[in-house]
Every structure is written in C-alpha cells, then in structure tokens.
Symmetry: C2
Subunit: 405 residues, 2 copies
C-alpha cells in the first residue's frame, strides 16, 4: 500500500478536467486544490492556526530554504515540517532544484553552467572557495552528479545531488516529496535544454531509487517526478513520456520561468502522463491560470502570488485584482471583496485595511494575504463543485466574464 493514492471522482467530458481525492498520510485533499506556499515552513504572515478557516488543504515547503535555515536536522527533530509549524494536514516539499538555480545562481548575473573540461566535479568544488565566489558573484555549477551552488544568504558553498535532496526531504518528512531536477535559464536554447532535460531524467531515476532504498520513508512519504523541457513543446512531450514511465506516485510540471511557456502545451503534456496518478503544476496559480490548468488535467496548484500580492495590497475579488492602497479605496467601507465570506471580509473594511497599508502596519499585509489565500482555495473548491455538478465550462465562463485580468 503506497502512502499516496489518487481517486478520480468525476471527469468533465471533452476536457482532461477531473475532480478527485488525493489521499496522504496526513489526510485527503479534495481536488482540484490550491496548495499554499510555505517556503520556509510558514505561509508568509499567516499562522497555521488559521489554515483550516482559510480553506488551506495542503502546503508546499522548500528543501533549499529549509536546508539553509534552520537546517533539516532541526525540522526532523521537531517531527517534520508539519509538526514544526503546527499543521497536521498534507505537506509537500519541492526538491530545491528551482531554488538552487534561481537563487544560488542568480539568473541574469554570472551564470556558469558548465565545468571547465579539465576539471572534475570534485576539483571544481574544492577550488571554488568563498573568495572565488565573492569575486565572481553567485554561481551554480552543474555536473552529471549534481549541482554546486552558493547560498543566497551568505555566499557559502553547498552541493546538492539527487540523493542528497531526497535525504533532506526524508528528514523534512513531507507527505509528498519531489525528484531533484535541473531548472534551466529561460534563455536556454533547445540544445542546452535537451541536455538539461536528459540529466533531469537521470536524476529522476536516481531520486526515485534513493527514495525506494529508504524503506521507512518509502512507507510514509510519496514521491513525484518532475516533467521538464523548458519552453519547447517537443521536449516537454518527450520529458512527460520519460517521467511517466518511472514508478512515481504523481507528477509535477515544473521548470517554468514564464507561465506562458507551459500553459499552452499543458494538455499535451498531461496526455502523456498516466491518467490515474495526480498531477501538480508547480508555481503557477492565478485565477485565470487555474481554469486553464484544470481543463488541461491538473489536480493541484501552488503559487506565491496570493501572499506576494497580499503584502503589497493586491487583492483578489470576483471582479478581478484591485490595488487596495489606491486612493479610491480610502473611504470605502465595503469588504475587500463584497461577495467573499472569509473572516477578513466579514470583519474589516477596505478603508481600514488600506489605512493599515498607508500607516505601514503589518496587519495590512496579514489580512490581505489571508483573504487572498481564502480566495484561491475557495475558487478551486468552486471549480471542484462545478466539475462534480457537470457545470465546469459554464462556471468558468461566468467567472472569467466578470473577473478582469
């Protein structure tokens, strides 16, 4: 019996959309679902005591960040990410691939993807002192075995391999962990993207093997493979086929630095994946994207935007996103979203919360983030209901008609 299983409740004819139940050791996720981002074992500004009221069914934390601070040993000692942050629902951890490349390397700065030919990976690491790193900027050096990278916090040198990422994720103890992948720069050409993809497939096999070797964790944590291929349709389809052939518990569609690279070919990717296993779209989840994703067969989403927007006063409403600090809301005694039933909209006004932003008070970002999290969680719940009732396309059209992007 695998720790992760997925049950399709209803499919929507003519699309890949489905409503389902994703079963994990820490409870079920009713899909489609929005998985809230808790990178450093916290949804930014929101206590886990609020999750249930906000409709948070699951969270996704990050291996790179928790490895650096506070270190996976402390999280393990506390009983895993969930216990550490006092959340007893399902937890995912992303493998750190994306962060190693985006934060460790610093896209657009100095990016060295290849080792000088005369050097082995070990040599490269040993000569790569902090002094060198500080002279040459942040770096991520890929070799066939793994990635050496500098911490975005202090420039210190670290190394991840698929085996190490899995080991850290075993310590972090999430219900669903991810294979370690190589995330390419958005500018990578087809040739390099293919090379990185092939490496990601090798790493997927090694991640899976490392996971299966740990009998104890194998029974309490599931593992998802990650489809790569950047912005190239042929590579995405090839990657989906390869990853689909491995014995993962589910799949993540990853590695996109622009959602427009992937949304248009998502249905083609998902058609290659086994229908009976769950699919997660990594890092994409604005309301308009969720409809596209669900129609293309995605079951779960995660996205930093509800809290990132919330921190600067960007608020999701049925009519679209509004910028709360704008002057027009200064004396507006309506709730953030007059049609919303979350605790923020029940108890506070636009005038009050926009005052908090003007007064630079923390409670502004807190309340805005809480509303936004509820909004996305509730939107996926409504989509799920529309799938169960057979009214998905109708609901989509009605919602998107009034929702101004």
């Amino acid at each position: 019996m695998r720790p992760i299983s997925f049950q399709i409740e209803k499919e929507f004819p003519g699309t890949l959309a489905r409503a389902g139940i994703l079963k994990t050791p820490h409870g079920d996720i009713q899909t489609p679902a929005f998985i809230s981002v808790a990178t450093k074992a916290t949804i930014k500004g929101v206590s886990s005591e609020q999750f249930s009221d906000l409709g948070v069914q699951g969270i996704i934390a990050n291996t790179y960040h928790l490895y650096l601070v506070p270190g996976e040993k402390i999280v393990e000692k506390a009983g895993g990410v969930g216990k550490f942050m006092h959340f007893d629902g399902p937890v995912m951890t992303d493998s750190g691939g994306f962060q190693v490349f985006s934060l460790g390397a610093g896209f657009g700065k100095k990016l060295s993807k290849f080792l000088p030919e005369q050097e082995s990976a070990e040599d490269a690491v040993s000569i790569w002192s902090e002094e060198v790193a500080s002279q040459h900027g942040k770096l991520a050096i890929v070799d066939e075995e793994g990635v050496s990278f500098t911490s975005h916090l202090d420039g210190s040198l670290h190394r991840f391999t698929p085996e190490r990422s899995i080991e850290i994720q075993h310590a972090l103890g999430a219900d669903i962990i991810y294979a370690f992948d190589e995330c390419t720069a958005p500018t990578a050409d087809h040739a390099y993207q293919k090379e990185a993809m092939d490496r990601t497939h090798e790493w997927a096999k090694r991640s899976l093997a490392a996971h299966r070797r740990n009998i104890e964790k194998n029974n309490s944590q599931g593992i998802y493979g990650i489809v790569q291929g950047g912005r190239f349709e042929d590579l995405r389809i090839k990657s989906a086929r390869e990853i689909a052939s491995m014995d993962f518990d589910g799949f993540g569609i990853g590695g996109s630095f622009s959602k427009f690279d992937i949304l248009g070919i998502l249905d083609k990717v998902n058609r290659e994946l086994p229908k009976e296993k769950p699919r997660h779209l990594l890092g994409i989840g604005e309301p308009e994207d969720i409809f596209i994703g669900v129609e293309a067969g995605i079951d779960t989403f995660d996205c930093v935007l509800p809290t990132r927007n919330g921190r600067t006063g960007g608020i999701y409403t049925e009519q679209g996103k509004i910028q709360l600090p704008n002057a027009e809301y200064k004396e507006d005694l309506q709730p953030l979203d007059p049609q919303c039933t979350c605790h923020v909209c029940k108890n506070f006004s636009r005038a009050y919360i926009s005052h908090l932003f003007r007064a630079k008070e923390m409670l502004g970002p807190i309340l805005a983030s809480e509303h936004n999290i509820y909004f996305l969680a509730n939107l996926t719940k409504r989509i799920r209901n529309s799938l169960l009732e057979g009214t998905f396309l109708q609901f989509r059209d009605t919602f998107l008609h009034s929702y101004k992007v």
Copy 2:
C-alpha cells in the same frame, strides 16, 4: 449618569493597591488591567479577532497618529476607532500631547519651545512656512493657545489646541479621551517645567470645558485629566492637586520620558487624586513596573514594549525576558514560556519561532507579540486575583523572585 464609572472591589491594606471595575459604554475592565497600545488603530501585528483570546480588555489609540493617517473624519465615518478596527471593547485615545512634542519636535534635534517675544502665535505660524521648517528641522512651537508642529511623516504644518484635540477625539469616538497636555523635554529645568505644568493645567480646564460643551459626546465618552510635573516631586504633587480639583472622570499620570522619573513618587501623586476615580499610568508597563504601579494605586497601564520587544524577539517569561533569536533557543522544542497557557505557547516551539526570526518571516514578530500581550494581560489578571484573595504582596515577591529583570 456619567459614561465612565469606577467601582472599588477590594483594597490591599497598607498600600494604595485596589481591585476594581472600570465601567465604559463598551464594557467593563477588570482592574488592575493592561491596556494594549493600538496607536494607529491596530495592535501591531495582531488582528482584533484575537484580542479576546489574548485577554485584551481595552486598547489605547493615538490622536496625533490617527489625525495624520487616515484622518479623524474617515475613522468617524467608520463609526469610531473601535468599529474601524473591529473591536467592540473599551477604547481610549491619548490626546496627542506626547506625540506632538516627541515626534513633531524631535527631541534632541532643534527644539524651539518659546516664541520670539515680538511675535504673536498667529504670526509665528504664518511665517513658519514649510521652507523654514525644512531649513530648521522639525519643530514644535508652544504658545499659550496651543502647539504648532510639523508632521513627522511629511513635514507639513499642523496646529493642536486643547479644543482641537478634544474635537478630534470626539470624532475618533473612544470611550475614554484625555485632556491635551504639554510634554516637556526630559532636560527641562524646574522653571520651565513649572511653566509648562501651569499651561497644562489651563489646557486641562479648556479640554474639560470643550468636552462638556458637546452634550452628545459628553454622554458617550469620558475624559481623563493628565498629571504633569516632569521629574520634580513638588511639581508632580502640585499638578495632582490641581488636576484632582477638576471634574474629570479619571486621571492619567503622564509626561515621563524615563520611568524612573515617576515610579518612585507615584504613591505621593496618587494620594492627591480622589480615591474613587480610576487612575491610568501612561506609557509604562513592564512586569516589574506594574507591581510598583499597582502598589502605588494605579488601576490601568499601557506600554508599547510587549509588541516592540516582540518584533525583535524579546519574550516575556516567568523567568524574565529572553532574547529568542539567541543561539541557545535554536533547537529548543519548549514553548516560549513553559508556564504560559496562551495559544502561541500551546501550539509552537521556541525552535520554530526563532527559526521564523532567523528566516525574517513576519510570523515570528506576530507570534512573539501575541504571547507578550497575553503575558502582560494575564499578569495583571493574576495581580487582580491576588488583591481579591488578599495575597498581593506574597504574589509580588514570588513572581519577582523568579523573574529576572
């Protein structure tokens, strides 16, 4: 029937300490009580939905800050400070005197307390363009009628008189408002302190008269006079006598920039005040101060330190204040205070919350502030119980024996 009344339940023999009930239009405060600081209509980082669980019996907001942002008209339109921030319990507003002088003037910078003799107050204001203010730094110019000052936010010019402060406080709609007072610099000599005190007494009469003229507000808001006199015992006693002779609903002991100016003479001040009316100690309220204050006859306290300490990881415990970000708590799976029963201590560990501080996550300051607020609220509750049970001095000695300052 006055909107504010006070009932003494029990006095502690040999001291001025008493347990009582302060009745307001928005409910009773069981005293001694800690009034939480909500300067800009928010306890920093804490939603009003949490107040009840944290033991918050009442809050104190600030006239100067709310006048500047968002403006008292918006708060009035929202139904007053309490409704604006969704808190239905008792609210106080400080008159803005302290802030006009400390923020508007910027102590230690250029402080001009006297008008040039050749100029009237009106002249002074009219020649005091923003250009002049920007050349000469922030200023607060006192005259017999009131104070002209620059905003600490944008340097714009404003003027408060006792009548204007009361008018703003009527709009803000708190249950208890304060007379407008002059706060002197901590370096003020006896002669200037006396002059300022005499002016404060005149302003107290005018504040009271302005309040009584507004029949409607007179029935829904009570007003406290403020005892001044700086660090001089003779002036403090004189001030207490003068303010005591006016028909206020209660009294604030104010104007202290160092708590050591006032704690030692608090009992002498309070002996001059009518025993049957409530007394509030403005801006002082660390655990050790609260015991001194209660023994000297103070009923309510407010202090920014629970949240200010909380934001930097300073945590109140039965054993004294700890600095949570210190290395020793990194792997400590105990609650913030093992003897505390607040929701933070029930659900989270020192290891987790110190991780949040290291990771620069908002939730760290939020949880630390919530615990600290509960700690102070609960401490005053325990003091109250010890007064009712006749064990006050015993409780004080036991508490202070283990509490390291």
